[in-house]
Symmetry: C2
Subunit: 373 residues, 2 copies
């Protein structure tokens, strides 16, 4: 029998949102014993929740009477901790092994354990989230389609820009990372997407720092990395996609790096199949890098190949060099090899794929051409 | 001497963002011993962090060498847990009492404790966050000024709308909650605000459920609750504000409720001073409700008076009936009494105030007129 799961969080938690499929702003308890699920809500939420969850997956339990009992408990302990204890007593959870997520509040865990509860941490908490349903895959495909509109816009701006000395000019003004990011954010906002993590548009030396968001004037004849990872405001799933451009003439190094990263991505695509170890797919992408004479590890290809994508920007499975994850049909992961050298700049190309019965289905479907003249 | 604080989270955690003042997407460790702060970052983040934090508050420590040691540790335990242990060993934290936030990952806490660490949970983790600096107050004032533009827009749409039978019409179409929310979201987006939690625009029966987001056609001659709690995309602080309107002719009950809620809010304003117990301020707001013949508790005024506002929508101090918080100069809190009856509808009015030396400073400064003809 599966262990009973208990979670306490608001629906900002991806696990919680996945379970209740609606947004609830304040933390609440859920008990999931496999066959039945109980959700404990206050009067502010209960009617709205019932309106949205018409499929009776959940037994909805008003939390106020339990809260009254919790308030009557003497001694130290937060309100949430005492409430948790009342719930554990009432629903016989003190004698069972309970699985909680790693973000289960530590003070609540401490209190429950002091009363005899046995809490085991499981990460990931909801394994099913790593294998997407057909419906989830359609949402992700839709989000990625919207995301590509951001790239079309970036290319349009870069194409229209004029090179003057060491700068780009657009509409008579010096073209900056901030300007392009603003334009993309506004444009994708109208498509229903929000930039919750801060997109990357970096050039020159900044492009060699993979997490540099990019700022100031955009440099011609250098690598320009554009990484857009917006979330759909309605369906809450992310998109994630990267292209690298050069406006003007690339250096020979950047040309080679771009070619190599493209080959590395193709090698990863070819290595993906159900049952494959994620780290072997990473290794395939790394081999293409090394074969071209570039580095893997402390310099060059310094990050992992990719990560699961869904309600969180980074979720299971992980496709890094040390991952023990085994790919399964329905996994949705980013495939994003990159090369970074302070002296030459950075190149990254990122698509999102689904692991299918017979290999890869690419949800991104967008060209990888990098030269913009 | 203050206990050493340790945190492990991404900058999505408000505490973490408050400490590092920049956005870092993946979880990282911080040690704060009061006099000195250490931040442990990977190569992807380190340069970008140094560029932004030029004031040397932090010693920046590359995490990769520690990660290598962590990987060499045998036995069960997540990567983060083993890394935490390596850091605790290296920086002599195993022999000290350490304070962690309640969202410190439970698996990491369990692992550290199994190695002898003493971890105490403190909530709130950073008490200073509850008393805002002059700079933070200016950000919040600015955000609220932007938020009021949303209300101006709502009023403009409602004024322009025509009543026909039981519906409102605007630009020839039936006016819906969704339409107004979309317009407000787009308009405030251009002001730099994002709707991370989902604004409320509810009318008729929906207005009687305080957390109902509102959907479908907007009902004339009923209470229309508009609650806008957007976050500024750059400064990361929230705004939060509510007004209740009636388009057309209010019922006598709604008229009384609106008058009463306004008086309740005024009573709360008058009761606020440094040193006051937050629950006594709640009680002042509740007395005004009871004096007018309405209910407090299970029906009527069913929620708390308000909450601290800052990097989180709900933070310390709490102004509910059971709060033990004592108001201090610099607290920024919402003052939002409300009345809710399924048969009559709901009314809520919400401003944001700062607790000053001599009482309240209202950061909202917006009219409370509710009739729109």
């Amino acid at each position: 029998m599966r262990a009973t799961k208990v979670h306490f969080a608001s629906s900002d938690s991806a696990d919680m949102y996945y379970m209740v499929q609606c947004r609830i702003p304040d933390p609440f308890f859920v008990i999931d014993s496999g066959r039945e699920k109980k959700v404990f809500l206050n009067v502010l939420e209960i009617d709205a929740f019932r309106e949205r969850n018409t499929n009776d997956t959940f037994e909805v339990i008003p939390v106020e009477p339990l809260m009254k009992k919790a308030k009557a408990i003497d001694g130290k302990g937060s309100r949430a901790a005492k409430l948790a204890y009342v719930i554990f007593e009432q629903y016989d959870l003190l004698k069972k092994e309970i699985t909680v997520p790693r973000e289960f509040p530590l003070d609540v865990a401490d209190y429950l354990r002091s009363k005899g509860a046995v809490l085991n941490v499981s990460h990931p908490f909801i394994h099913e989230r790593a294998t997407k349903t057909a419906e989830e895959i359609e949402l992700l495909r839709e989000n990625l389609k919207k995301t590509t509109k951001g790239f079309e816009l970036v290319e349009k701006i870069l194409r229209a820009a004029k090179i003057k000395d060491d700068s780009l000019f657009h509409d008579g003004k010096e073209l900056t990372s901030e300007y392009i990011k603003d334009e993309v954010e506004k444009s994708l906002f109208l498509e229903g997407m929000e930039d919750v993590e801060g997109m990357i548009l970096s050039s020159g030396k900044q492009s060699a720092m993979p997490h540099h968001k990019g700022e100031g004037s955009i440099k011609p004849n250098t690598a320009i990395i554009c990484d857009i990872f917006f979330r759909d405001r309605k369906n809450r799933y992310f998109g994630d996609m990267t292209r690298t451009y050069v406006k003007g003439t690339p250096t020979e190094k950047v040309r080679q790096m771009h070619e190599t990263v493209k080959n590395s991505q193709d090698a990863a695509f070819a290595a993906i199949r159900p049952g494959a170890l994620a780290k072997h797919v990473f290794e395939a992408s790394a081999k293409a890098i090394r074969d071209a004479g570039f580095d893997v590890g402390d310099k060059g290809y310094i990050h992992s190949l990719g990560h699961g994508l869904g309600l969180e920007l980074h979720e299971a499975p992980n496709a890094g060099p040390n991952s023990e994850d085994v790919l399964e049909v329905g996994n949705v992961i980013t495939i994003e090899p990159g090369l970074y050298y302070p002296e030459w700049g950075g190149v990254r190309i990122e698509d999102v794929i689904v692991v299918g019965e017979h290999g890869v289905e690419n949800l991104t479907n967008y060209h990888r051409e990098y030269l913009i003249t």
